[in-house]
Symmetry: C2
């Protein structure tokens, strides 16, 4: 009775599952982690799950905050849960005859493949190993399992690295002239175990523990600790996973895939994760433990015959070798899909002809597969259109939209591997993650080539444009991570031989040095010499169907940042509704224009400035006319000249000579002026509307070019041109007022004789002061467009050009959550945006507010923009579909 | 009866005064302007004020907003008021026998000397002039008055410039061989008047109007229009006077100071405006109209004998020539001072032995005079200590605190003039306001030398460090304006001959070219050749008395920005309570230190960086120790290294060579690194705590130097050192957390064996993001200090180094009200500060908040800081008294 009372005082920290029952269910991912919730759900569904229990993520947080301590009563709950497993399995933990053996696995809210530690075969010791030997009737297996456990435990718990044990094993094999592990007998393993123990004592300073409970508590602690290891922290930072989520620990009765030829282990997807095809897809290994598949050490076999053909595998498929197991697995696939309404990624083990499911979770998939699965599941009645839209990660569309290898291009294929992650990429080969990162930082593209990758390589994989491995399958570390990151990846290209010491790679007799250029096609598995031409992707019917659903749901308009005819056309193809930012500076940099621009800057009086600008006018008018023509009456927002005059200055003597001749100014004068006009901090200098106010002729000319082009195209097409003239870098209401007056004056001159161009004037909000004074500025502005690049620079006091010397350190050390130029800084820049929206709309209720910085194409930032109640986002052409889908996600999430 | 009803429907636009009565009083400055309120008050007081009326400032605003229209019923009110004057003066407007003559003068809320237009002798025409002639029994005077009126009216109302009339007059005098105006007879003036009229017709296209009412309404309109003329707008911008205040118009019966030798006109101060001495002080001209004194065309005579002696005048004083008038004036002086409780500046006219007061207003005074008058009036019981504190303009203290000529220095005096505005200044002579401005913009000091100055020269006087005129007295334009601006001024240096055409100045036979250097002493009236050494001012007892009163009243602490022993000592002298900002970068730039610093930056590893920093440690420790020693236990806030690494890079080959040798690095490597480390926008670059985080060794060394110095001085003096360690350029809480941990770690190492140094860690708030995130940052910070320079740069996106290319245009065109680096931008930067204070104190109620940008010494900004509820301001040593007094003003104003 006292016991019951004390139990009631404590929270529930442990959830059991097994035998068709479970304490938890799939809704409890936050508490039980993904794996724990899945095991509970499957167990309750009656699927064959080995019994076990889950220690909650709360315990991880407790453990982290209280330096390795556990909450009270946890030990009691664990002991009771072990008793429950013992009952189901008819074994006992530590029993020398029928020992209960356990696995201890991490499982956080979202999958973090390979980041944290695992211990298998726990419960084995010098006595219980004999019980396993007699119970399994396979002493060789029993001692092999024991030595695997010792090795894993020593590594994970005691900090004695693998290589010590591999060295002992290698020496033993060499002494006996064995080649394969399977050549070793039980006696061999016993000898090796003795040596392992000695090594552990000398390395760790104490003995490998024989007591199963000691083994268990140490392993639980090790898994909790592994939540905070360096690579897990890095991974979370890359994936934007908060550190305080914590991991659960799953303790489960062991099942063995390595109990001989009727045993196996594997990983399967309920649909093809690369193509989305509606068929079981996966790999397995006969007589192996689960981790062997993921580790990519042995090349696995396909589960289906179709998969075997597609992957050009010459190993038999499970469908052929174990047909009944295959059919059972295929039945479970349907059960799971109907139950979860999503494609699942499952781990299974077959122990002497009995199938066990060890994990299920939503399967990662390529963008193409995600689209296809989402569309087909709507057809199959499994999900709604809303759900389909939410199933596709907006950022993943990147994979679909980027170029692939031109099939007609000449190519010299060096190697073929698995098409592990789609996309084509060219770059310089490098052999280490650090070198990939270095190259990326210096603006070069890297192809990371490794025998196989490991979690230590994450940063390099992120920095590289493509990844090649010589070993491992479609579910190897390299393949899974590359798909997640949207990097092109060719895995298991076995004729690639990498020599890390010599920094070379031999491919079919050819030697490639570090820095040589290759092209890889992650859609075909080919590695090619040099840079091979690529072509634009054709988008599948699934794409336009899903984007159609997304468009119906989103509230945000999606515009494009474009200033060339090519970009405009591309953007229309990708569904842009207009131009949100047409920069005009490029129109000043080309050919003869830059000379005229320089003449303008160096002119000694207004008349000369006008003369120089007159040369640019017709060219700029033609540029605008062509853009209006392509956009066919859709709104076009044109930003008046923005960059600092500094950027237009001639640099070289030759350039100065050209300007001096063109402008009829002495070379000395030009030199003097160039020195005078150079700026210390051009980003904060004579730019934007400051130029438009001090040299009003520039904006006059631009306005004239815009409106005259509008008149021309209006006449040509019979459709009035809609143009929004956007004034950059406004900080004070009076600036915009002056520029607006100048624009209106020119408009009066141009729009005579009933010519109609519908123009409005608005401003960029890209200075903190402009955001704060948005109420006043809105008096002059028909619309706002956040220039989030500049706004981020000013708010953080951070120059994008110079941040490279410390920003990577800041990201690595978690000082900032993410690069604020990639994802909007919601706490700083975001608050200024919110203020600006509120204040601007207070002055002018119908104020149109948009974003036109890079963030307009970042899914996370687009969702934030939706929350702020903006009218539209504008981004580069390739990001338009991302923005459309992200906007739909935002609308659907906020509607829920 | 209908008349009364219609009157009641209209607002009162016209206020009459005269004959011991008045509609208005001195409290009505906003409506009546300063002059109008003063005339009303004096009239009600029974002082001899010619009768008249004031048209309110509201009418000016109406007139400006309605393009020259007047509010209804104004004409009726004006007509009635003229009738009232007619009654008092027993004259009639337009009457050919006894004509009423009027003056029409502007009068705004604050004095704008000479900025707006005036019309005198209004009401004269071809018929009334005959009445004036017979009435005054002086036809010469009458026709002279008529031609003066015509000339003034033509200029002000009809836009026909003076020089046309001067030309006619000169020709007439030459033809008759006259030298002085007084040589001309009534007939001469009649002839000249005829020519004036012809000239007016040919220049203006129509005739000079004969109808007095037409003359009046045109003149009223001209005065209202003159509120918006270019020089008035410029003046208001310089003085921060809003454009919408408007001016009143004062219409008053004429009295004539030019009715012969018993007539005079003058300007007097009730105390000496330069020294503050309690005696009547002023100048007058016999037989002259009022404007002649102010214009500085004739050199005026002193009112008192004492003044005559002091100014080395050889003209008789009024006290001698017109003793009864003098005594009457002196009696009025006492009446006014007792009534107004302040020193008054009065204008008077004596018409044939009868004294009239035409204006009274608070007199402008030097800072020294302001101090003396304030202190003495407290003694006299005229004002309270609070009022005394409010009577001294904080910014004016600048005049007292700056150097004066070293009396022992050798000096070659070129010229002597009037000591018109105190202070000593050396600079390059220039002969035009534009050139003074140009020089100032290029960072040079200018001494503006003019025959006399006029309102057109205001911008040049503001830009110059000193002003010299060859004509005019102590109340000439140059003298009045220079005192107001705190510029040194020598006026009426009559042996100076300026040749504007040749751009030279001849002084006692010596020719000075534009650009030559002179030194002027505005306290002695001397102009000296070359640069003469100056010494620091000794501050009078009045200064410390008044500052004592101020200190008792202020709530804001006043600290100093100082990083040298000299600055620290100077600051203590000026009353600083501690150091609010000790920059440490200067400590890295000197001599061998810069080499060590460069070694540090270029080092290839941490060990080498530490080695380089070890060289700097003892030097920096000594610097801090000396500062602690001087500050004697007062709080010292030390900012860790802030500037971008960029600034420390070697520039020249020679510098690179030195570093390469010192660090044992190849010259090529050094060159490469220098290129690599250069920044495009260093202001937004690798600086502040970003350096402290990427190169923690730097802040470790600095912390060690600070704390070790603290230990040394603690031991030496027995007083614990109080040090606040300030971390610059923080944008994210984690930055401050990391740096604080580093500081605490070093403190643990240094402060062993019970050594005590009281240190706390705080941060600069100088990034918009920091202001927005102040709530989080305050978790790590014991104090905030606003770096308003950087905060202004970031909020405006404005680099101080580069703003010169457009900021002057912005100021000139009124796009910004004031240079935001001079006066805090309350609408932008100020709002961020307010947010930061609120949020910071929400996290940490006792958070100390200070300002340490340049604004800490700007009176206007200090008042804003008081309103924000800051704890202290910190500024450069010379500005400490300004901040103390401004803080007292703020406390007193907010208490009222
Ligand atoms: Mg921008
Ligand atoms: Mg700063």
């Amino acid at each position: 009775k006292a016991d019951i009372l004390s139990k009631q005082k404590h929270a529930k920290y442990v959830y059991t599952f097994g035998n068709g029952k479970a304490d938890g269910d799939r809704s409890m991912k936050i508490l039980l982690g993904g794996k724990g919730a899945g095991l509970a759900e499957m167990s309750a569904l009656g699927l064959p799950v080995p019994p076990g229990f889950t220690i909650t993520t709360q315990v991880c947080t407790w453990f982290t905050n209280n330096v390795g301590e556990y909450p009270p009563n946890l030990d009691v709950q664990v002991t009771e849960s072990i008793a429950a497993i013992e009952k189901i399995t008819a074994t006992r933990f530590g029993d020398p005859l029928r020992p209960l053996l356990l696995s201890v696995r991490s499982g956080s809210r979202v999958s973090m493949p390979g980041m944290m530690d695992t211990v298998l075969n726990l419960g084995l010791n010098d006595r219980t190993v004999q019980g396993l030997a007699s119970d399994s009737e396979d002493p060789r297996f029993a001692y092999d399992s024991y030595r695997r456990f010792i090795q894993m435990f020593a590594d994970v718990v005691m900090g004695v690295p693998h290589h010590h044990f591999e060295h002992i094993l290698d020496q033993h094999k060499r002494a006996r002239s064995f080649h394969l592990d399977t050549d070793l007998s039980a006696q061999d393993w016993q000898q090796i175990i003795s040596q392992y123990k000695i090594k552990i004592h000398s390395e760790a300073g104490h003995d490998f523990p024989q007591d199963p409970r000691t083994q268990l508590w140490h392993s639980i602690a090790a898994v909790f600790r592994s939540w905070s290891n360096a690579r897990a922290v890095t991974y979370r930072k890359l994936q934007n996973i908060p550190n305080d989520w914590g991991t659960a620990v799953n303790v489960q009765a062991m099942v063995f895939g390595n109990m001989g030829e009727s045993s196996a282990t594997g990983v399967a997807f309920t649909r093809n994760p690369a193509t989305g095809d509606n068929a079981l897809y996966g790999e397995y290994l006969v007589n192996a433990q689960g981790e062997d598949v993921v580790a990519g050490i042995r090349t696995p076999q396909q589960i289906t015959i179709a998969g075997k053909v597609a992957n050009r595998s010459n190993l038999p498929a499970m469908e052929e070798v174990m047909p009944s197991m295959f059919h059972e697995l295929n039945a479970i696939r349907h059960t799971l899909e109907e139950h979860y309404s999503d494609m699942q990624d499952i781990e299974f083990t077959i122990q002497r002809g009995k199938l066990y499911i060890l994990q299920t979770r939503a399967g990662k998939r390529t963008a193409r597969a995600a689209l296809k699965i989402a569309c087909e599941m709507v057809e199959e009645g499994l999900i709604t259109e809303d759900e389909a839209v939410m199933r596709v990660d907006p950022s993943s569309l990147n994979q679909l939209l980027h170029p692939r290898i031109d099939p007609t291009a000449e190519r010299q294929v060096l190697a073929e591997g698995l098409a592990a992650s789609p996309g084509a990429a060219s770059g310089h080969i490098v052999f280490s993650a650090d070198e990939a990162e270095r190259l990326a930082q210096s603006g070069e593209k890297a192809i990371l080539c490794r025998t196989e990758t490991s979690p230590e390589d994450i940063h390099g994989m992120n920095a590289a444009v493509g990844i090649v491995t010589s070993r491992g399958g479609m579910t190897s570390h390299a393949a899974v991570v590359a798909r997640g990151m949207g990097r092109a990846c060719v895995a298991g290209a076995s004729n690639v031989n990498i020599d890390y010491n010599a920094n070379i790679m031999e491919v079919g007799g050819k030697i490639l040095q570090e820095g040589d250029i290759v092209t890889i096609d992650g859609g075909s598995g080919e590695v090619m010499l040099g840079e091979v031409p690529t072509i634009e992707p054709e988008l599948s019917g699934d794409f336009s169907r899903l984007m159609g659903w997304a468009d119906k749901r989103r509230k945000l308009g999606v515009l494009v940042n474009a200033d060339t005819p090519e970009d405009c056309r591309k953007a229309l193809e990708f569904g842009a509704e207009g131009i949100g930012l047409c920069r005009t500076e490029h129109m000043f940099f080309e050919g003869v224009r830059i000379v005229a621009m320089r003449e303008m800057i160096l002119a000694t009086n207004v008349a000369e400035r006008r003369k120089a600008l007159r040369k640019v006018l017709p060219m700029q008018r033609d540029d605008f006319a062509e853009i209006f023509r392509i956009m066919k009456g859709r709104p076009v927002t044109i930003r008046l000249l923005d960059p600092p005059l500094h950027e237009f200055l001639p640099h070289t003597e030759a350039e100065m000579h050209v300007v001096s001749a063109a402008a009829g100014l002495s070379l000395d004068y030009v030199r003097e002026q160039v020195i005078r006009l150079r700026e210390t901090n051009p980003m904060l200098g004579h730019r934007g509307c400051r130029v438009g106010i001090t040299y009003p002729e520039v904006y006059e000319m631009q306005t004239r070019a815009i409106l005259e082009a509008g008149v021309i195209i209006g006449r040509e097409t019979g459709v009035n041109v809609e143009v929004e003239i956007m004034v950059p870098f406004v900080g004070v209401e009076a600036e915009l007022k002056i520029v607006k007056e100048c624009i209106d004056k020119v408009a009066k001159e141009v729009l005579v004789n009933g010519e109609k161009v519908h123009y409005v004037v608005g401003t960029m909000i890209e200075l903190p002061r402009a955001a704060l004074n948005a109420g006043k500025i809105a008096k002059q502005a028909h619309f706002f467009s956040f220039g989030t690049n500049d706004l981020t620079q000013m708010t953080f006091g951070l120059s994008r050009d110079d941040a490279g010397s410390f920003l990577p350190t800041y990201e690595k050390r978690g000082i900032i959550e993410a690069d604020p130029f990639v994802h909007l800084d919601e706490e700083g820049v975001g608050e200024l945006m919110q203020l600006a929206v509120e204040r601007g709309r207070k002055t002018r209720a119908d104020l149109k507010v948009c974003v036109c910085g890079e963030h307009g194409g970042d899914a996370k930032s687009v969702i934030f923009c939706h929350k702020l109640g903006l009218d539209c986002v504008s981004c580069s052409p390739y990001r338009v579909p991302i923005a459309r889908l992200a906007a739909a996600h935002a609308a659907l999430s906020s509607g829920l």
